[in-house]
């Protein structure tokens, strides 16, 4: 039963993240920086579900993102799987129950993901315009964190409402 729930969670997370990244995000770019819903959902699954689910989700999500940009195929799947695995591993050790700690974790993960992505998948950019990459990485991390706050807040609120009626 739990496995079925995890699968539903993963599939719905993939659909939501893909829809958001393709339909909404291109219209909500601020100063060249865009929030990454795939990263937010990966972290949410890592925080609330099993490490395996987080790794699988991150990998599949990264794979689907990579198919749209063939030059980066493989990089995003590896990095998102790493984020899922890393957050899952740290979750129990750091006891990330506090919302602020989760948000801080989200920011650090977003920052690391973006930087590693630029460094590995688009290494040419690091040589040509590192200032741009740094600013873009920072802005994207902030933007993604803000999106994460909204998503986490929404999920928490929804659960509170659901609990009220149970």
């Amino acid at each position: 039963m739990a496995g079925k729930f995890i699968n539903i969670q993963i599939v719905s997370g993939i659909i939501v993240a893909l829809a958001f990244n393709i339909v909404i995000m291109p219209r909500a770019v601020i100063f060249g920086a865009a929030a990454d819903m795939a990263l937010v959902v990966t972290i949410w699954i890592a925080l609330t579900s099993t490490p395996r689910a987080a790794i699988v989700f991150g990998f599949v999500m990264g794979l689907l993102t990579g198919f749209a940009r063939p030059t980066e195929l493989g990089w995003s799947s590896m990095l998102l799987a790493l984020v899922g695995y890393g957050i899952s591993a740290l979750k129990d050790r750091l006891a990330m129950e506090s919302m602020w700690l989760r948000i801080a974790g989200l920011f650090v993960a977003a920052l690391s993901y973006r930087f590693l992505f630029f460094a590995l998948a688009r290494y040419g950019l690091l040589e040509d315009g590192s200032a741009f990459v740094m600013i873009n990485t920072l802005l994207s991390a902030v933007y993604t964190t803000m999106l994460g706050v909204i998503v986490f807040g929404f999920i928490k609120h929804r659960r509170m409402v659901r609990d009220l009626f149970q």
């Binding site: 063939p70 195929l73 990089w75």
Partner: protein, 262 residues
Amino acid sequence: MFGFISNLLKKVNLLYFLGACAISIILILLPLSIKTTIGALVSGFFYYPLIELDHFLLDLATTKKTNIELNRQLADKAIQLAGCSEMRHENARLRRMLEFDIQTTQRLVPAKVIAARAMPDAQALIIGAGADKGIRINNPVVTADGIVGKTIAVSAGTSTVQLLTDHNCRISAIDQNTRTLGIIRWKGGRLLEMGDVPVESQLAVGDTVVSSGLGGIFPAGLMIGTVVYAKNRSGSLFKDVLVRPAVKFWSIEEVFVILYGR
């Protein structure tokens, strides 16, 4: 060696991660042409509904903008059309007036109505021609339809016209059919009264009433209106005669002043 593998197998999550990394590295190492082919195939399948949704939303936004723009253009065209319609009517009026100008032998001064004044005791128009065009007090004012009234005040560039529908306006009139004389005056409503018509007169409904020329202000033969009521009153020497004026006083825009009596 066996112990290491056994330990590793216990760490299922790590194995999952390493598996993901291995597949990712294989994908990274693939030639770009193969990556592009796989990417096109897979994204065509997975992204198609989302791209369609994206296009649908884009179309919706564009449709809204287009709709606003078309509505604005429609309003513009409606205003232009109203202007054209107005010009068409003005053109028709001016053509009729021009024909009237050709037919008449009188010296006419065309003038535009610039203001209307309607009060209980006086009904008047102000026209945009005055003494500078040779207009004087008591000049007849007409349209192609018939008599409008006469000038009662003249300044350099404007004149005040007392309408037939003013209480104080009187015109000596004649029935074109029976040659019966009478006095036209307004007694309220939309009709004029033709007074002083003897009961012996054969004047009847449908007859045309024109100016007689006897008053000295209006030349003879100018259209006043059509008889719509003519009956004898018991014990009276005169008929009750009502005339529908030929001119529509509520929609006069251009007039002619006849420089008459010089």
